[in-house]
């Protein structure tokens, strides 16, 4: 059974979304978050369990794409607190904290006046932190905005969780010749079109009957 499960995972891995899809999803999350709140910026940090760090995974603005991939200790600053406490926060006037302003400037070259930060929670896991920077100032902040942020973060976390599972499945299969071969065949058939695809599926069907 274990072998069956592994090979089935290999087949699944062959047609799983790629790293490119992962990057597109992350970028979409920050772009949509920025649009929902009419904010100046948005960014996502993902938690890297192996190194106990937060990784700058996506940023909405074109000018700051070089920041993607930067790392910081998992408990540093606002993002670190939100990750550890699993609690969303909205802060205004953060420039009055010199330490905060400096760390932000070193990281992004941009110091926001205000930010919203929310954990990306899926089931009992915390996958990372979503930040929305400099939403328009209003006389009174609305708790509905806070709840909207939470709902959007929940949706983003579900999508991220699916892609993270796919990434882990691919990593599990890497270097395993037998399973990797099955995954490669599945991937190759998935990419075929027209008569070639039909022929490929017929071949797999025949193979399944011969081997079963």
């Amino acid at each position: 059974m274990a072998e069956d499960g592994r090979l089935q995972a290999a087949v699944a891995a062959g047609v799983l979304p790629s790293e490119e899809s992962f990057a597109q999803l992350l970028r979409s999350i920050v772009v949509v978050a920025r649009a929902i709140f009419g904010a100046k910026g948005s960014s996502v940090f993902l938690f890297d369990e192996d190194t106990d760090e937060l990784v700058f995974a996506a940023v909405a603005s074109d000018e700051e794409q070089e920041l993607v991939g930067r790392r910081m200790p998992s408990s540093q600053g606002i993002a670190g607190w939100v990750l550890s406490s699993r609690t969303p926060l909205v802060l205004e006037d953060v420039r009055s904290d010199p330490r905060w302003a400096r760390s932000f400037a070193e990281g992004t070259g941009y110091v926001p006046e205000g930010l919203m930060a929310v954990p990306l929670l899926y089931d009992e896991e915390v996958l990372g932190v979503l930040q929305v920077l400099d939403r328009p100032q209003r006389s009174t902040f609305s708790l509905r905005e806070m709840e909207l942020l939470g709902l959007f973060a929940n949706q983003a976390a579900i999508a991220l969780s699916l892609l993270l599972s796919a990434r882990r499945a691919r990593e599990e299969l890497a270097g395993d010749g037998e399973a990797a071969a099955v995954a490669a065949v599945a991937g190759a058939v998935e990419r075929l079109e027209g008569p070639k695809r039909e022929a490929g599926l017929a071949l797999l069907d025949a193979l399944a009957r011969v081997l079963s």
């Binding site: 106990d52 200790p73 408990s75 926060l89 904290d97 609305s142």
Partner: protein, 282 residues
């Protein structure tokens, strides 16, 4: 010595029963009046003599909006999982603990504020450190423990539940932030703690009792003026900041009426809530 006192003081016998005519021996020193209102509960109270623990990211020493901190420790675990409690020389690793302390101080100017730092030493193991920190705080016997944080890890649910019940019976009031996201988290859902969400009004003394728990109270949590690290003052929104408002109000009640149990404090808070009190003002 009355029978009841003798009974309670006898270590060989559990105090699970009350002998006849011994009720007076366990009467409140300062009994609740027929009408509990804000005047009785809060007027003239400063929080003096009440020990409030901020279980968080530490507190910045000498922040003007926080003032003197009575004690500050950091919690860590050694390689074998034993709890290490050391004097905290770092202060606040984020700003959040300082913020919560300033909300308590703004309401209860003479309360003793203690810092127990459980965040800031890496995410890995942070759930276990949180549990160890709460256990330390409950064992220490603080009057109020402010928890503007929670964990989603189910493996900690049972132990946090036990600690919350232990605190409840030891006269330690745990005030915990409700989660405003669609996830399960602890310990705010336990009935032995006081759980707090936010309302949008601008008065820190205005709070509401929720007739539809698990969130039990709503306190000021929007655009709250708070302390931040570096001596700063900023505005913030979140249940994180509503929670210390209830901690501060509870400290006021306890300073004026020492010895109330968590059940009694929660009852007083319910009776003086702005939507419960007969005059609508609590």
């Amino acid at each position: 010595m009355s029978t009841a006192l003798h009974h309670a003081a006898d270590d060989d016998l559990p105090a699970w029963s009350l002998p006849r005519d011994a009720g007076s021996a366990i009467a409140l020193a300062n009994p609740l009046p027929a009408r509990v209102d804000r005047e009785w509960a809060l007027e003239g109270a400063t929080g003096k003599g009440v020990r409030v623990c901020i279980l968080d990211s530490g507190i910045e020493a000498e922040h003007p909006l926080v003032g003197e901190i009575a004690s500050a420790v950091s919690i860590a675990l050694d390689d074998e999982g034993r709890t290490l409690v050391e004097p905290d020389t770092i202060g606040d690793t984020c700003g959040h603990g300082t913020a919560c302390a300033s909300v308590v101080r703004g309401l209860a100017s003479e309360a003793e504020i203690h810092s127990v730092r459980v965040l800031g030493s890496g995410f890995k193991g942070s759930g276990k450190v949180l549990v160890a920190g709460l256990r330390y705080a409950v064992d220490y016997g603080f009057d109020v423990i402010n928890m503007s944080l929670s964990t989603t890890k189910r493996e900690f649910g049972d132990v946090l539940h036990d600690l919350a019940d232990t605190a409840y019976f030891k006269r330690t009031l745990i005030v915990a932030s409700a989660h405003n996201m669609p996830v399960e988290s602890f310990p705010w859902r336990f009935s032995s703690v006081v759980s707090v969400g936010s309302h949008e009004e601008g008065d820190s003394l205005v709070f509401y009792a929720n007739p539809n728990p698990p969130v039990e109270f709503y306190a000021r949590g929007v655009d709250v003026d708070i302390a931040w690290v570096g001596g700063a003052k900023i505005k913030a929104t979140g249940n994180s900041f509503a929670t210390p408002a209830i901690s501060g109000i509870a400290a006021l009640v306890l300073s004026k009426h020492p010895g109330l149990t968590p059940f009694q404090v929660k009852t007083v808070l319910s009776l003086i809530a702005n939507n419960v009190a007969a005059d609508g003002r609590g």
